[in-house]
């Protein structure tokens, strides 16, 4: 069923071309929305198929694995594709109100859809060099989106983002080359067998190159500095899709490589991952505490939350991986939503700088309610989705007597509450310093729809995951089982009967 794998890739590309042809006209927006809606359908079909049939693999161009390029989706890939489609749809609806005609004229919708294609490509590829290519597609599209408009802040943030991400790219490429030199294959499923013949010391060195490369993409300590330098500068739609998806592609690549290929010396590699995870959580949350702009606070929280996901990978127990998968899904929805809300705050109160805004609880109570849901979910309040994600991870840590990392996870959760209450107190509770009280009803009807529909939709998803975590946890459990025992993945890719 390879069309199920190809459709989620081709749809965004086709949408990008159509949107480019219609750029500068209102049709461009609607093409983008329609394309994202179709993508959501395709992604849902893929998830249903994978959930029912197990791993789905397709050999592109009829070249059998391990020689050709393989597209493959297991449960983790499929759910990541689905969540990407959800975010793409939410952000393209949000763009109706957020992206002005000047940015549309510059081709915003086309670049946005190329970015989505790159993200999905990274999730469904089964070939390491192909993964590098998808990273590049994603990277060049994100460069374009980041500096689109060309304000001094954007150029400044863009320089740091480009400079540091290019190093990660080169490291990744060098790692791919060395791994090929050592094993003679680039197919990830084939690699998982081929690495058994490689000297473990050499393999650990290559693993560290991948850790550096993906770690920089995922924004872990001490490689995250490009993120808070850039994420608060572009349009809100752009920073929401970046915040939701880009670093998570890095986390996904880490999970994929460190469960499938580099599991030869878990005591060494995953111990390093555990240190990285703990330090990432702490530095991220402390960085956030020092900031006073909503988007800067949220940017540092991305860093600290990445730590939780890496923590689950580092512990490498079934329960910990369940936690990581659950956390990924929950986090993407919540984080993108918080950036979208920051955009609505900017629209109503005129800024995202906490000292210059206020009074939103009085002037826009609906927005206040919609903020509480993802904010408390991020902090880990029951019964929202973040609570279950953190609960699973902490329980996994206690299960292997990792008291320190469990303690760190809990304390970082508390400090997250501090940041969220800081935003709440300044933006919603205290009066506006200039006495401005724009209410939602003063926005035009179409702007109101564009801003609030995606925020409400994502908030509903957060609520549903939180109120009925059982099916999600069961799915995450199956996904984690796939990751820990890649036999089904390997045989599906290499076309062997089980």
């Amino acid at each position: 069923m390879s069309w199920l794998l190809v459709a989620p890739l081709m749809l965004p590309f086709a949408t990008a071309i159509a949107a480019y042809l219609a750029k500068g006209r209102a049709a461009g927006r609607w093409i983008s929305i329609a394309g994202s809606a179709l993508l959501l359908v395709a992604a849902t079909l893929l998830l249903v198929e994978v959930n029912a049939q197990g791993v789905v693999a397709g050999q592109m161009g009829g070249w059998g694995a391990p020689f050709g390029i393989t597209l493959v989706a297991d449960r983790l890939s499929a759910v990541m594709v689905l969540i990407t489609a959800i975010i793409a749809l939410a952000v393209s609806v949000y763009a109706l109100a957020d992206i002005d005609t000047r940015l549309e004229q510059l081709g915003y919708h086309a670049i946005f859809n190329v970015l989505i294609a790159g993200v999905i490509g990274a999730f469904v590829t089964g070939d390491l060099f192909n993964l590098y290519v998808w990273f590049e597609v994603m990277l060049i599209a994100s460069f374009g989106l980041l500096v689109l408009g060309g304000s001094p802040e954007q150029i400044d943030g863009g320089v740091k983002y480009v400079a540091l991400n290019l190093i990660a790219t080169v490291l990744f490429l060098a790692g791919v080359g060395l791994l090929y030199g050592a094993t003679g294959t680039l197919n990830m499923a084939d690699l998982s067998r081929a690495v058994e013949g490689v000297d473990p010391g050499l393999l650990s060195v290559i693993a560290m190159m991948f850790l550096l490369a993906f770690g920089m993409k995922a924004a872990v300590f001490p490689l995250f500095f490009w993120l808070p330098a850039a994420y608060h500068t572009p349009a809100f739609s752009v920073s929401a899709v970046f915040a939701g998806l880009l670093t998570k592609v890095g986390v996904y690549a880490l999970i994929r490589c460190f469960t499938l290929i580099f599991d030869h010396d878990i005591g060494y590699t995953h111990q390093i991952l555990l240190w990285v995870a703990g330090l990432t959580m702490i530095t991220g949350v402390l960085g956030a505490a020092a900031q006073s702009d909503i988007r800067k606070i949220l940017s540092f929280h991305i860093v600290s939350q990445i730590g939780y996901m890496v923590m689950g990978l580092a512990l490498m127990t079934p329960l910990a991986l369940v936690g990581t998968v659950f956390y990924l899904v929950h986090h993407i929805v919540v984080k993108a939503n918080l950036f979208l809300i920051a955009g609505a705050v900017q629209r109503l109160a005129g800024s995202t700088e906490l000292s210059r805004i206020g009074g939103l609880y009085k002037s826009a109570p609906l927005l206040a309610l919609l903020f509480i849901i993802p904010a408390f979910s991020l902090a880990g309040f029951p019964p929202l989705s973040g609570f279950w994600a953190k609960f699973l991870l902490v329980k996994a840590a206690i299960g292997v007597e990792g008291w320190v990392i469990a303690g760190v996870a809990l304390v970082v959760g508390l400090l997250t509450i501090y940041s969220m209450t800081k935003i709440w107190a300044a933006a919603f509770w205290s009066p506006h310093p200039e006495g401005r009280d724009t209410s939602l009803s003063q926005l035009s009807a179409s702007d109101r729809r564009g801003l609030l529909l995606p925020i409400a939709g994502l908030a509903v998803i957060t609520m549903v995951i939180g109120m009925a975590p059982d099916p999600f946890a069961r799915f995450a459990e199956a996904a984690a089982a796939d990751l820990l025992d890649p036999a089904a993945y390997v045989s599906a890719v290499l076309g062997e009967e089980q």
Binding site: Y132, F143, V147, K160, L166, V170, A174, G181, G184, A229
Partner: protein
Amino acid sequence: MEPFFAIAVGGLAAAAVYLMLSGELLRYIFGLVLLSNAANLAIFVSGRLTPGAPPLIPEGAYAPAGTVANALPQALVLTAIVIGFGLFAFALVLTFRAWTTLGTLEGDDMRVAEPKVTK
């Protein structure tokens, strides 16, 4: 042959790091180009170096006779060079925009997006 290439890769990487640590954006970009060339050379070597032995398969056979270089890393390097060229072009244009918009290429002076906190 391999030791010579290994030293060349090391030399390129060292020069790249030196340039990238200079704190000036244009030098940083040049350092990045050197670094990506070091990576490309490393991949090139990973496919075996066999001077005077083209990877040709004799008629009727399925594999080349004798030891020849693996052609796949060379294809990878070509792809990487093309991608790297595109990224380099973007980085150069961005550098130029940074120069015209921000008026400086010194990393320490680029504080528009992250202004110093004054107390």
